[in-house]
């Protein structure tokens, strides 16, 4: 069953690399005089990611359960360092999102999503399902701190993914609905304050609602993405030719890679991508469920496993929805397609975690069978 995941993953990556190359070669030449600069960098990250995935898939999930408090503390610590120390951080386009260690950069927010999911699962496994909000304050505090620092960077997109996944997990473990609702209302108030606190975020909402109002100003980005997608038509304009017809897109090889794909390979290419993603999410879910069959009552594995699937699924949905203009503009990577080291690495680790659940469920059921014999 696990090999199915490898096959699907390999297909998505191969598909993505083709599009990445076509989206990044001109930028590669312009910035580094090397058309395959981004491709090679991404390949290295894919190799590192694959290795990490294989390692993680061999670590017993219970290890993560044991280390969950330390993990989430570490995540907050990283985010905090990023917040207070300009010396160790890297600021790009007004957002301080990257930790700098020598020539290596890393995005702690990518790690935070993983840590928060692990911690949430750990918390529910340990304390059970709380009936009142008061009983889960410690969990809310930990998740809230992570979300808070991410929003401060500012990284609205990652924050949204984190909060969405957390709410989904609360609903799954059957936290009373009225509690979730009241928390949601509080979140709404915070979000309102957050969005209206900066004109740049407010403009993004405006641009989303009506990009045409100022199509050379704030609506430019939104329209540009949609133009590229619409230009692609049914069969696309051909690989590497997007810029020729529509012009270079902002964040062409990372957040906007979907628009490049849609333009160059057309609706046919989009449908293929969707099929790949559907297969990936579905097979991950079935793998998780199959392993839990063998290991009944494993709350941690169930919640954490679903959480990992949700992280990937929500990223896919948010990114594509943003690209086609269904959601307001925010920078999120498209799993296994976008250029970017930390995100790619973490997506691999998240899949590795689900593989680990499957592997160790088999081990334990084999053990049980042996005892029975």
């Amino acid at each position: 069953m696990r090999y199915v995941i490898y096959v699907i993953l390999a297909s998505i990556i191969a598909y993505g690399l083709v599009v990445l190359y076509s989206a990044s070669y001109s930028a590669g030449i312009k910035k580094f005089g090397d058309s395959s600069f981004f491709l090679r960098r991404q390949l290295i990250w894919i190799l590192i990611g694959t290795a990490a995935m294989l390692v993680v898939s061999r670590i017993n999930p219970q290890f993560w359960q044991r280390t969950a408090p330390r993990l989430v503390f570490f995540s907050i610590f990283l985010l905090f360092i990023l917040f207070i120390s300009p010396k160790f951080s890297l600021t790009i386009k007004g957002a301080r999102r990257w930790l700098k260690l020598g020539s290596y950069v890393f995005q702690p927010s990518e790690f935070a999503k993983f840590a928060v999911v692990i911690y949430t699962a750990y918390w529910f496994a340990k304390y059970g399902v709380p009936k009142k909000i008061r009983e889960m304050l410690s969990l809310l505090l930990v998740v809230g701190l992570n979300a808070f620092f991410i929003m401060l960077q500012p990284d609205f997109g990652t924050g949204m993914v984190l909060v969405t996944v957390f709410f989904a997990l609360m609903w799954i473990v059957k936290v009373p609905f009225k509690n979730i609702l009241s928390m949601f209302l509080v979140l709404l108030v915070f979000s309102y304050i957050y969005v209206t606190s900066s004109t740049y975020r407010l403009n993004r909402i405006k641009a989303w609602l009506n990009p045409w109002e100022d199509k050379l100003g704030i609506g430019y980005h939104v329209i540009k993405l949609k133009t590229a997608i619409g230009y692609g038509g049914l069969i696309g304009v051909g690989l590497g030719r997007e810029a020729e017809f529509v012009g270079v897109l902002p964040e062409q090889h990372s957040d906007s890679i979907f628009a490049v794909l849609a333009c160059e390979l057309g609706y046919v290419g989009v449908v293929i991508l969707f099929v790949f993603y559907f297969l990936l999410i579905l097979s991950l879910y079935r793998l998780l469920m199959a392993s839990l069959e063998k290991k009944k009552g494993a709350v941690f594995e169930y919640v954490a496993g679903l959480g990992m699937i949700f992280i990937i699924a929500v990223h896919i949905f948010f990114n594509i929805a943003v690209n086609v203009g269904v959601l307001p503009l925010t920078g999120l990577p498209l799993p296994f397609l976008s250029y970017g080291g930390s995100a790619t690495l973490m997506f691999f680790i998240e899949i590795g975690f689900i593989l680990a659940i499957s592997r160790f469920a088999e081990v334990s059921s084999r053990k049980r069978r042996r005892i029975r014999l």
């Binding site: 997608i229 989009v270 929805a321």
Partner: protein, 606 residues
């Protein structure tokens, strides 16, 4: 718990399907809108263009050039008093006022075309009105000074990828060399096109005459298709006309009419192949000039079974006269002496069954069956030009080997492509291959007699030496050869002009159809008209030097020159000539020499 997980996943799937459907709507149903929008932005943006390259004929006459025009667009957000603006614009350009007003008040858009390609005078008039929100963009309109003449070869243009007018080749050379011809458009640092000039081997005058003759032939013969290809011994295409052809500017955008049939349509050529086989037989020593054949009017290829008949009973006939009178029996006897191996190798050398590598937007292969599939009947059929199919360009290329010292080469239409800085980017470089030995005496004599007293008498023109051969091939239908359906043809080489003409008429209607009757007469029509024009002679392709290019844009001093020189200089421009007085010599001109060409040029003659 598990149910809830499944449910959430289902919600995700549903949301994804929603996004997928939405993407489909954007990509498929709104596709046209976004393409238009992208073009608008490119034009509105910092992009500019310089005119597309020119296309010349072999005598330096301009076949296609791009003239400066202005296109008017509006930014509805900036337009004030749209009713007034709409009124003025509609008066000026005879546009629908209501539609215009709707465009001008569409505040969602910041770019709407009002009218494309207006002249400088119109632009100045409009500019004087000082309307707010109305802008101009320089664009170029493609002009074909000879109208529809040669358009199947020259081609047509449309709006380009960026959105500029008339800068994308749609047919013919415009399409073939679009990469070189394309006017330079700078869009976000990406330059398209090189705006090179293309010098062709076409002679627009020959082309014009050929097309007229084809048109007139249609009135008489109502043919399904017809082709005239004119080649010189260097295998340069001097003219290539095909019926059906475009008869007005609108039809120059119809693929049906713009198809150059002479490169694409295949047919069985008939007897025109006989001189080629005859020459081969002479060379291989299987036939000598003194040989005689007996023609009873028919020949059994398979005794008692398969009979091929002759046009008439020729009785004892000289080897040469087999060509002169197009004797099938004689030709078949010669072919049988050669054998299928020799025939096949000749046909391969002549390039039947494969593309001629013509520099055009494609051509057909023709049909030559593999030698393994040949039988006795095939040898006989092939000898009289049946059972294999050629394009007109293939056939004339093969025949021209008899007039280029026995050598053959790929035909070409483009002589050279010259960049804006005068550098030659591409130049035709011919590789000749030997097919025959250069001694053509006997074949030429035979072909000359075809016109003097043989099947091609109608092609005779006093004062010209013409080597010809007729062809009348039956057309194959689903059930073998059909009665009354013919492809008739005539090949003629005019020594004094140094040109080979190949005229093909597919399915002419009428009685007593033959190559000698239909095609030879058409050949004579073309050649006579060219011959009567004493000035006519085929020059080598004339490439103006850089300095002359400059002169091209300036009015020369016409004083003392004849009115014909003036007309010649005006070809390829939309400058109107106004002549005062009567006579031939120019005594005065306006504007003065050295200034640029304008809308009119006035000359006074004496």
């Amino acid at each position: 718990m598990e149910l809830r997980g499944k449910l959430l996943l289902f919600v995700w799937f549903a949301a994804m399907i929603g996004v997928l459907i939405y993407t489909g709507k954007v990509q498929i149903f709104e596709h046209k809108f976004w393409v238009e929008r992208a073009k608008e932005e490119r034009i509105r943006g910092s992009s500019y263009s310089i005119p597309r390259g020119k296309i010349f004929d072999r005598n330096g006459l301009i076949l296609a050039y791009s003239a400066e025009r202005f296109s008017v667009f509006a930014d509805p957000v900036l337009v004030k008093k749209p009713e007034y603006v709409a009124l003025r614009l509609s008066q000026m350009f005879k546009l629908d006022e209501k539609k215009l007003l709707k465009k001008l008040t569409d505040k969602n858009r910041r770019f709407v075309w009002i009218k494309r390609a207006i002249t400088k005078e119109e632009k100045d008039k409009l500019k004087a009105l000082k309307l707010k929100g109305i802008f101009f963009k320089k664009e170029y309109k493609r002009i074909y000074p000879f109208g529809t003449v040669g358009r199947q070869i020259i081609g047509s243009v449309g709006v380009d990828n960026i959105g500029f007018l008339d800068n994308r080749g749609l047919f013919g050379l415009e399409k073939k060399w679009n990469k070189y011809l394309e006017g330079v458009v700078n869009f976000k640092g990406r330059e398209t096109g090189l705006a090179c000039d293309v010098y062709t081997t076409l002679d627009i005058k020959v082309q014009q005459v050929a097309e007229e003759v084809l048109k007139r032939a249609y009135e008489k013969w109502r043919q399904k298709a017809a082709y005239v290809v004119v080649l010189n011994p260097s295998f340069e295409v001097v003219a290539a006309a095909s019926w059906p052809m475009p008869e007005n500017e609108k039809e120059c955008f119809l693929p049906k009419k713009m198809r150059a049939g002479c490169f694409f349509n295949v047919f069985e050529p008939g007897s025109v192949v006989k001189p080629l086989i005859f020459k081969w037989a002479l060379e291989k020593g299987v036939v000598r000039k003194s040989d005689r054949f007996y023609c009873p009017g028919y020949i059994y290829v398979v005794p008692g079974k398969y009979k091929i008949s002759c046009y008439s009973t020729h009785n004892w006939i000289d080897a040469e006269d087999v060509i002169t009178y197009s004797c099938n029996v004689g030709a078949i006897k010669i072919a049988l002496k050669l054998g299928k191996q020799e025939l096949y190798s000749l046909f391969r050398r002549l390039g039947f069954g494969e593309k001629t590598s013509l520099d055009f937007v494609g051509e057909e292969d023709g049909i030559l069956r593999d030698i393994k599939k040949w039988n006795v009947v095939s040898v006989a059929s092939v000898a009289i030009g049946q059972e294999f199919a050629v394009t007109a360009i293939q056939m004339i290329r093969a025949l021209m080997s008899l007039f280029s010292n026995g050598e053959i080469a790929s035909p070409n239409i483009t002589k050279m492509i010259v960049a804006r800085d005068g550098k030659v980017i591409k130049e035709e470089n011919k590789k000749y291959e030997r097919v025959f030995t250069p001694d053509m005496g006997i074949v030429h004599d035979a072909m000359e007699r075809v016109v003097e007293r043989g099947t091609g008498k109608r092609a005779r023109i006093k004062g010209l030496t013409i080597y010809g051969k007729t062809g009348t091939a039956q057309k194959a239908g689903p059930k073998g050869y059909e009665k009354g359906k013919y492809v008739v043809s005539f090949f003629g080489y005019v020594k004094e002009m140094g040109l080979g003409f190949y005229v093909v008429v597919d399915e002419p209607r009428g009685k007593g159809i033959s190559g000698g009757k239909v095609a030879a007469a058409m050949f004579a029509n073309i050649v006579r008209r060219l011959y009567e024009d004493k000035e006519y002679r085929v020059l080598s392709v004339n490439v103006p030097k850089k300095e002359e290019e400059e002169v091209f844009y300036k009015i020369p001093d016409f004083k003392g020159k004849t009115i014909f020189d003036v007309v010649k200089r005006l070809t390829g421009r939309d400058t109107k000539l106004i002549v005062h007085g009567s006579g031939v010599r120019v005594v005065k001109q306006k504007p003065q020499a050295g200034s640029e060409f304008g809308a009119t040029l006035e000359v006074w003659v004496k």
